[in-house]
Amino acid sequence: MIRQRFAIVILAVIGLPGWTPAAANVEIQEVTSPGGITAWLVQDNSIPFLSLDIRFQGGSSLDRPGKRGSIYMMTGLLEEGTGELDAQGFAAASEDLAVRFGFEAFRDSVIIDASMLTETRDASVDLLRRALVEPSFPEDAIERVRGQVISVISGNAQDPDDLAPDRFAELAYGDHPYATSQEGTEESIAALTRDDIVAAHRDVFSRDRVFVGAAGDITPDELGLLLDELLGGLPLAEVPLPGPAPWELSGGITVVEFPTPQSVALFGHPGIERDDPDFFPAFVLNQILGGGNFRSRLQQEVRVERGLTYGVGTFLSLADHRPMLLGQFSSSNNLVSEAIDVVRAQWEDLAENGVTAEELEAAQLYLTGAYPLRFGGNSNIAGIMAGMQQDGMPIDYINSRNDNVMAVTQEDVRRVAERLIQPGELHFVVVGQPEGLDSTN
């Protein structure tokens, strides 16, 4: 099914964003199955379960022309029936095995995560294989999930946190798939047939475009057999991946009128590729600008010094077809204009002056100290293993990563800031009723 957002808003706890448990010294093994499928494994037998993270490159950007939303909807249908099992049967079977599945589409990949007890692993893998390789896409389930997708679309149309990135993408990315939202439109979803869903399945799931991360209670040999059992029945890729997305925005402001007391501001401009020689200086630069908790310049200037927002941050988006430097905050309608000025001033200051030695050192201390703590919990580690492969990182990346962070100098940051930080290119999409703020043209 498509996960809904209705989950009642119960503010049982406030002030705690997601944090993950701490984890061990990570030893990655590369496992190649007898059939030739590769996975990265972090073996840990201390708790009797295994987590898998399986990523199929291409994601919802592989939607065929006129079929926007087909891959997103297909992904929601994987657990809705296979063979003689209907949706209820599939749910009962997974519950009987206490196996946990997640099926989710993103613009660059469809990600399947699974956690399974050692005791029920064989049956769990078989159930997952049937869902992934042999889904039955029954008509009644298609109608049910179609209704769920349309509900998500109408929900997004009323949510500033969705409206802002949607408008930004529409303005920025021309006719590339990135320009439209992966859920499709009510019209495109209404028109999808079962054949379209079958085609979406065929286009996305291929054994030569898969990255697998595994962590937990399994040996390399067992994992090799599991990979063939699970993925060996998939075909080879037939459709090409999309090319680079254009960048059609320039500096300025786009206001999207929406009745709400607080505006959402999404801002950014093109970023930097992960394989760029200056990636690490850019990474450290972003940390100083808008990464982390309270230390970043934007958090200090916009939140701590002026109280203009509850939180502001930036990140280097490494989307396959258009890397970006993006940021976001929410401010009351009467404050958002001032907050934008503060963000712009920081952009200009960074481009002109780079960062101080103290800022650089603090960012390096944080990034290098926090890195080992990132590898916490089997399902988290499995996701990192798959993500590293998808990003084309070498298997020994973890060993050199902190050295690369520490090697960044003030001069490196200044050089990359001149290139990366472009105050004149920075575009803000503001959804709300901002006071004293108009769209530029």
Partner: protein, 447 residues
Amino acid sequence: MFARIIVACALVFSQLSPVWANGEVTEFTLENGLQAVVIEDHRSPAVVHMLWYRVGAADEPPGQSGIAHFLEHLMFKGTDTVASGEFSQIVEANGGTDNAFTSWDYTGYIQRVAADRLPLLMEMEADRMVNLRLPEDEVITELSVVLEERAQRTDSSPGGLFQEEVRATLYQNHPYRIPIIGWRHEIEDLTREDALAFYADHYAPNNAILIVAGDVDPEEVRALAEEHYGPIAANPEIIERVRPSEPPQEAARIVVFEDPRVAQPYVTRNVLAPAREPGAQEEAAALTLLAELLGGGATSLMNRVLQTEERTSLFTAAYYNGLSYDDGTFTLLNVPVPGRSLEEAEADFDRIIARFLEEGIDPEQFARVKFLYDASEIYALDNASGRARQYGVALTSGLTVADVEAWNDVIAATTIEDVMAAAETLFANPATVTGFLTTPSLEEATQ
């Protein structure tokens, strides 16, 4: 229905009682009353350090809603020896992350760092238990941050505003009716003096629980706790919490919240329910399983009937909150498909409840739900921080470590009859609050 699979289930069920080395839990109490829990997880060189205070939004003076949460923000503004903002900077310079959180029954502070930095964290956390200093100008700026937080979490969210109204109606006298973040008009009037008074009244070792989870030795944690928290004097004026209590509730109530931003109208049915009590968690266990059976996973009754068979609902769920110091809540949620009215969706609740009470519980379904609960314990071991949180919530809700450890056994011992009896009692209570979240009706919109 699927006999083969159910046999497999029974087989698995009988096997699921392994002994695993990870996850030892130790508790101790310092002479000044500070309670401590240590959860071992030696898979990594990391540690989570949490300090929980047994005080939250339900303990605020009248007219000062939001003061517990505001104080939580102000706890980062410095002491005699740590400058404003420096606490987080020191944690980050040590490669750690830190945060804080507030609920009705507790306020907590958390850091996650490499295990060898634990002494530093304890030193700083103990320092701000008693040495907080608040510059007036920073208090005013932080109040603006909190108002922005309220705007983001609540005022911008029809669901958030709706939930506030439902809760304020469900609890008629108990302060659980007040939102954690506070009512906006009262937040605006909070002062530095309010915060310092609340701090003086509630922040003391005998009102705190230390939880350390990760790659640590319990004896070393005890020695460190004695060194850093031990010297702080207890506050003898802190006594067990007694909040205004609920009168007997006699009437069903209806909340209708209309907002043009609502994309997907839905209806909820809410009723007060007993919380887990120390040494007596049986009824709570039955209600926990009841919520799973009615609206937990895809095979639950509401999901199966309303979403899959009749296809009249987009989403259904049942929630039981039994982890609270005073009365908890039981909630049913129904999001109807477009074209189906909220009144019909409300009637579904009564129909489902009647059917459940009439038909009882399928033993296979009961075994399945209990098995899932059993398995979740294994998955939970993967997350030391999550377990630390679980203990923190339980202990600030009045439970003991022994209660937490007994919980899965209490669940396992719960019978179908226990669940049916709990359901009969729960649904016999006429004092429900039915909440409708919807868009303004057409006539009103055109007026």
